[in-house]
């Protein structure tokens, strides 16, 4: 795609590289649109000043919203597994592969995201370490919420009370982890000044060539070449 710069005769050429399928983007937004109401309705239990919202008829309606959103939230991975099982497996495999570059990424992430020091950032595949950790926490969270939530919903009068209490506890613990993770994810994807393209990619499914080169070198250049380039750059400096 070429873009003519306003008021000049110059044009710049942007090459877009596909990153997500249409279904992936659609399901991501369904996940978002259900996770936020789930999180906000659950957050009420953590905020004593919101107690009036939990009381009486309002509380009953809040619980109903939580349940409806939960069904849609749980449906997302099922629909993905049915419609694009190969894509899901490819992504899952990528989410689960960690290398020494991920240790380096974690070490340099704070100086990078807070102070803009990108020199030491190691090359990353299609999903960087943070994205993979978010994805894994969300996968683990969805499974845990499914098991504990459905048990609390349908097995209350059947299961032993100790088990029920454990379910409540695990549900809450997982909420603390996933909601904190979501806040960080939201900050980096939507608010952080450098990461504007991540929102573009989740909207249009593509990232620019230059963004891919900078942020996902292993994906852009291939693993071997990206590593060689990084080692060379690192030994020079």
């Amino acid at each position: 795609m070429s873009v003519r710069l306003r008021g000049t005769d110059s044009a710049i050429q942007i090459r877009w590289i596909p990153k997500y399928t249409t279904l992936e983007r659609f399901l991501h937004w369904v996940h978002t649109a259900t996770f936020i109401p789930l999180a906000l309705t659950g957050f009420i239990l953590f905020a004593p000043f919101l107690q009036p919202v939990a009381q009486g008829e309002a509380g009953t309606q809040i619980r109903l919203i939580h349940r409806i959103a939960a069904i849609l939230f749980g449906g997302v991975p099922i629909i993905y597994a049915i419609l694009q099982p190969r894509r899901m497996l490819i992504n899952l495999r990528e989410f689960l592969s960690f290398t020494k570059y991920d240790v380096l990424w974690v070490k340099n992430a704070v100086p990078y995201y807070v102070l803009g020091r990108h020199h030491d950032m190691p090359p990353q595949p299609r999903f960087n370490t943070g994205e993979r950790m978010t994805a894994l926490v969300m996968i683990l969270g969805t499974a845990t919420f499914g098991i504990t939530g459905l048990s609390m919903w349908f097995l209350k009068s059947i299961m032993p009370t100790v088990l029920y209490q454990l379910m409540v506890l695990v549900h809450d613990l997982m909420f603390i982890i996933t909601f904190a993770m979501f806040l960080i994810h939201f900050y980096l994807a939507v608010i952080h000044p450098m990461m504007w393209q991540s929102l573009v990619s989740m909207r249009y499914g593509v990232v620019s060539e230059s963004y891919a080169r900078e942020h996902h070198a292993m994906w852009y250049y291939g693993e071997k070449r990206a590593k060689e380039m990084w080692e060379r750059r690192h030994s020079e400096s």
Binding site: Q55, A180, P193
Partner: protein, 290 residues
């Protein structure tokens, strides 16, 4: 709490007439329903949303003789009440004089109270045992049933309930309905210390004059002191009571540790992100960013 009130329950005087059950239903406008005879005089089969108190029957083969034991069940009004701690709506509260009060309008039907009570006392309106075993009778029953739809178990549009020591009577200086009606003198109501003293005196009589060597007081020390002080003729286990009921550890873990941890974690994340944004905005040079 010096002015704490309590119910005295003398199982050695109870004759299981169940007048207390009827008085409770009458005062609290609780509907009755058909039940099935299953080989016991106990009726209804368990405490439920419409049954705040009930006489439990137990058979105890003590070394000397056979005993038929009657225990008046209901909310224990614990000094340390897990239901109050886990209730997210403050429908359950430590009320005046140590009574665990229940405000139905505030309840949202989450059911945590029913799952964290060490005695399993609070019950949700659905699913309730009466849906399987019979139907509600009388006008109150029809009104009660009309409030709940077939999908309420699915949507969670339910309410909890439990004995409140007739909070509307006792705050006005009256005795709970069950105490007022008891014809055998097995029930009494008053200052908790006096009720404990009365129970201890009665246990002495049972031990020394009535040949009940295993007689004992129950409820004086358990869970921060219960609001029900029982005079038992036999060990608590013989009545189906836990000798040493425990405050659920999960409640402590949840309310005292996990919830504050969550509050700190959310707060720290939000404050951290805002701070990081302002630092990043100053330090990140977009012209260097691809």
């Amino acid at each position: 709490m010096a002015d704490r009130l309590a119910m005295y329950i003398d199982t050695s005087k109870c004759m299981a007439c169940r007048g207390c059950q009827v008085a409770c239903k009458q005062w609290n406008d609780l509907p009755a329903y058909q039940t099935e005879q299953t080989g016991t005089y106990e009726n209804p089969p368990a405490l439920d949303h419409y049954t705040f108190t009930r006489i439990r029957f137990a058979e105890y083969d003590d070394p000397d003789r056979f005993q038929w034991l009657f225990l008046k069940e209901g909310c224990m009004h614990c000094g340390q009440a897990a239901c109050v701690d886990v209730c997210p709506t403050a429908a359950l509260k430590y009320g005046p004089n140590g009574i665990i009060t229940f405000e139905r309008d505030l309840c949202n039907g989450c059911g945590y109270c029913s799952q964290f009570c060490p005695f399993g006392v609070p019950h949700l309106s659905v699913p309730s045992p009466l849906r399987g075993t019979g139907s509600l009778t009388g006008l109150e029953g029809q009104i009660e049933l009309a409030q709940y739809g077939a999908l309420d178990g699915l949507t969670g549009d339910v309410k909890s309930s439990k004995c409140t020591f007739c909070q509307d009577r006792t705050v006005n200086g009256l005795k709970p309905a069950c105490v007022k009606t008891c014809p055998a003198g097995a029930l009494d109501w008053g200052n908790r210390d006096e009720m404990v003293a009365k129970a201890k005196a009665r246990v002495d009589v049972l031990k020394t004059q009535r040949n009940f060597p295993q007689a004992q007081v129950y409820g004086d020390t358990q869970l921060g002191g219960l609001g029900r002080i029982y005079v038992l003729k036999a060990p608590p286990e013989a009545y189906g009571l836990q000798a040493d009921p425990k405050y659920p550890a999960m409640s402590t873990l949840w309310q005292k540790i996990l919830q504050p941890v969550g509050q700190v974690a959310f707060g720290a994340t939000i404050v951290g992100a805002i701070a990081a944004f302002f630092v990043a905005r100053r330090n990140v040079h977009m012209e260097e960013v691809e």
